[in-house]
Symmetry: C2
Subunit: 424 residues, 2 copies
């Protein structure tokens, strides 16, 4: 039984405006779930095995709502174009290589290893259009111990000859084969329906994918309103939809009853935002990518204040790093530039709000995930933050803020638990 | 004699648009200066000691034109205010502590150690108003082996009671004592005249500092046009000056004949820019700080295209990290947001341009510094970038871009040379 106690200095989000702090506290893990955080160890848990992390910082695992596994190989390269050109110049040629399982094996080993060592405990990952490489990726991720949704990508139009599926039907059938092939094989790795984005998918394909999502009760991930050129293109391709998100919605790929996460939402209109709220669609905010491919700044303050479901995405390789601490810093910085350069009524995000986004906000996509409140799945990270020297005393909240800004995920992470399992 | 050869894969800026690449090349160091980069080892250097870094990446050292040493202690904390409030809430209270040499010793040990381990080989650092702590900081930096200008800060108005000098005269006299006290003591650490910024300095003090700069032929560093509130305040305090920079200029603190570096320049007017160009004033571009204290985005494209002197600054602790690789990434990202949200005629910066800024651009403040061209002072960094795994072959230029984006300064720096001396 995975029942145990961790002792240390604990911080976790309770709500978007409230972080709970407890020094020298005990977190109880019972059957993979938190049984709460206590200042004194309750009698009933006194005999459980205890891991003593006294003086160390313990926080919930971080949730990456948007990452492209096959793009990990070229993260930090080719950051000199806007989205659509960048896809053709870098993303599609790299993704094409995953038809070759030898290359895929090599690349996904590197990716899985990096994910394991990162502060990410949950992820929504895009694979490529290739079924077999997608299964391979799922196997690699399963072995890391992190929990992930992995999507075989669908593309049947407006794509390079070497990187496109032969028809809507072929794409849907291959997807269904993939669903059958992986059903019951993994503990921590689940399929997710993944139309790349509207420009890459015919209405026929979107319709079939909506059907698959319904039939197999599978969640959905895609891209939405990321870049001005892309949005114009969607208007040309689907003139009958009032806005970008409506295209997905038309085919049952936009939330309720299935969970859906849409990456970017830099330029979502009020109508689009309203529909997302109605359908419970999650926003994956990807600030690095929004800067690197020059898309712009997403109005996160607006989404938060309107109580949309929202979390963070590294969006490797539009984003250059899998580090969600970096994403957190960029999220705060971007919100300040949004306030300064675009709309001074949109107040910069506070640290607590971004900590919420990175944990409980995105975690909601996975259920009760991203907090240490009773009943939440037990994902925890332990940091020996004292190894980053300082001359003055620091409060627990200061230690947390500093840990994030100074990149503690790479510098002093000491242990990682996912769903009650110690994976690092 | 410090004469030797390094062998490895070499990259360095030749001009703002041109990076030179040479795989398996030899860099010759003769008496602390580069004698050039060669594909084949020239006969005359064949007997010099050679350090073999085959397969590793060698680039010039990075130059930090703006960093506050006493703020290093609280980097990554208190990122919830704009500049002027932030100074009062965080910077001034922390800097006040450096009256106590015991605290200063502890804090500056941490700072110097971090600078030594960083990719920075040259820095322009602010100290505090305290003479003795400034001398202590100089001693610590001297021991690291990096080359730096260090400034005792001057403040005689509009400052907290606990952190202000008693009069313009007292401030100037203490500064002159400091200049005498440190003259001839250090090999690699030089004094620089450092009025904090116009709001903190009376005209009388600025006038005395201009006089000291002339008398002792000392360079100057300060802040300029960083934040809208600050600029308004300067207008109120100095209504006779047409623009912020003119105040410094009036007192001989704005370049030619002495070197001057001004941090930020987010909102410099065309007149200010023109005067900076005329006087050869250096811009220290500090993107992290410009985001963190919500100042805005500086028009670096404009400065570059107008051939101003310009380099990068970490601006710890407005900036949250001393890593200039991070500053490089932020510089590119900021230029993209500037283009996207402020002025679409200002093209995003290219990687080569930012590599130039971080090395040869800022290096010019120190003389012939920041390149491996013949005659340049020998500052070099060696990276074992293969330790960051990748599945595909990479060109040398790709390796460099990737190294910077992936934070190679913390992950795989293997050796550091400054002015011909191996310090790490």
């Amino acid at each position: 039984m995975n029942n145990f106690v961790l002792k240390g200095d604990v911080a976790y989000s309770v709500s978007k405006n409230k972080t709970a702090y407890a020094e020298n506290a005990y977190i109880i893990c019972i059957e993979g779930k938190s049984a709460g955080v206590y200042r004194d160890l309750p009698e009933q848990y006194a005999s459980l095995p205890m891991k003593d992390y006294t003086g160390k910082l313990i926080i919930p695992g971080l949730v990456d709502l948007h990452i492209h596994a096959p793009q990990f190989a070229y993260r930090g390269l080719g950051m000199d174009m806007e989205l659509l050109d960048w896809l053709n110049a870098y993303a599609f040629p790299e993704e094409t290589k995953y038809a070759d399982l030898t290359y895929a094996e090599k690349a996904y080993d590197i990716f899985a290893n990096a994910m394991k060592k990162s502060a990410t405990t949950r992820a929504c990952a895009f694979s490529t259009i290739h079924k077999d490489a997608t299964v391979l990726l799922m196997r690699k991720l399963e072995n890391t111990g992190i929990v992930s949704y992995v999507g075989k990508v669908n593309m049947d139009r407006e794509s390079p000859e070497s990187y496109i599926e032969s028809s809507a039907q072929a794409s849907a059938e291959e997807t269904e084969r993939w669903i059958h092939e992986t059903a019951g094989y993994f503990n921590r790795t689940y399929p997710i329906i993944t139309p790349r984005f509207v420009p890459s998918c015919t209405p026929e394909l979107l319709s079939s994918l909506g059907e698959l999502s319904r039939r197999y009760a599978l969640p959905v991930q895609s891209h939405l309103s990321e870049n001005r050129g892309e949005i114009e293109w969607v208007k040309e391709l689907e003139p009958d939809s009032a806005f970008y998100g409506e295209v997905y919605d038309k085919y049952g790929l936009f939330g309720d009853p299935q969970k859906t996460v849409m990456a970017h939402c830099v330029y979502s209109t009020d109508d689009e935002m309203e529909l997302m709220k109605e359908r419970g669609v999650f926003v994956a905010h990807c600030p690095a990518s929004n800067m690197n491919v020059a898309s712009g700044i997403a109005p996160v303050r607006k989404y938060l204040d309107n109580d949309l479901n929202i979390g963070l995405g590294s969006d490797v390789a539009g984003g250059h790093t899998e580090s969600l601490f970096t994403t957190m810093v960029e999220t705060i910085q971007n919100s300040k530039l949004y306030w300064r350069t675009i709309d001074s009524s949109m107040k910069p995000l506070k640290f607590e709000e971004v900590f919420f986004l990175a944990t409980k906000g995105g975690g909601a996509f996975f259920g009760k995930v991203g907090s240490f409140e009773k009943g939440y799945e037990f994902d925890a990270l332990v940091f020996d933050d004292k190894t980053i020297a300082h001359p003055q005393p620091l409060s627990l909240s200061q230690r947390l803020e500093r840990l994030v800004y100074l990149g503690g995920d790479r510098r002093c992470m000491q242990a990682k638990y996912v769903k009650g399992l110690k994976i690092l």
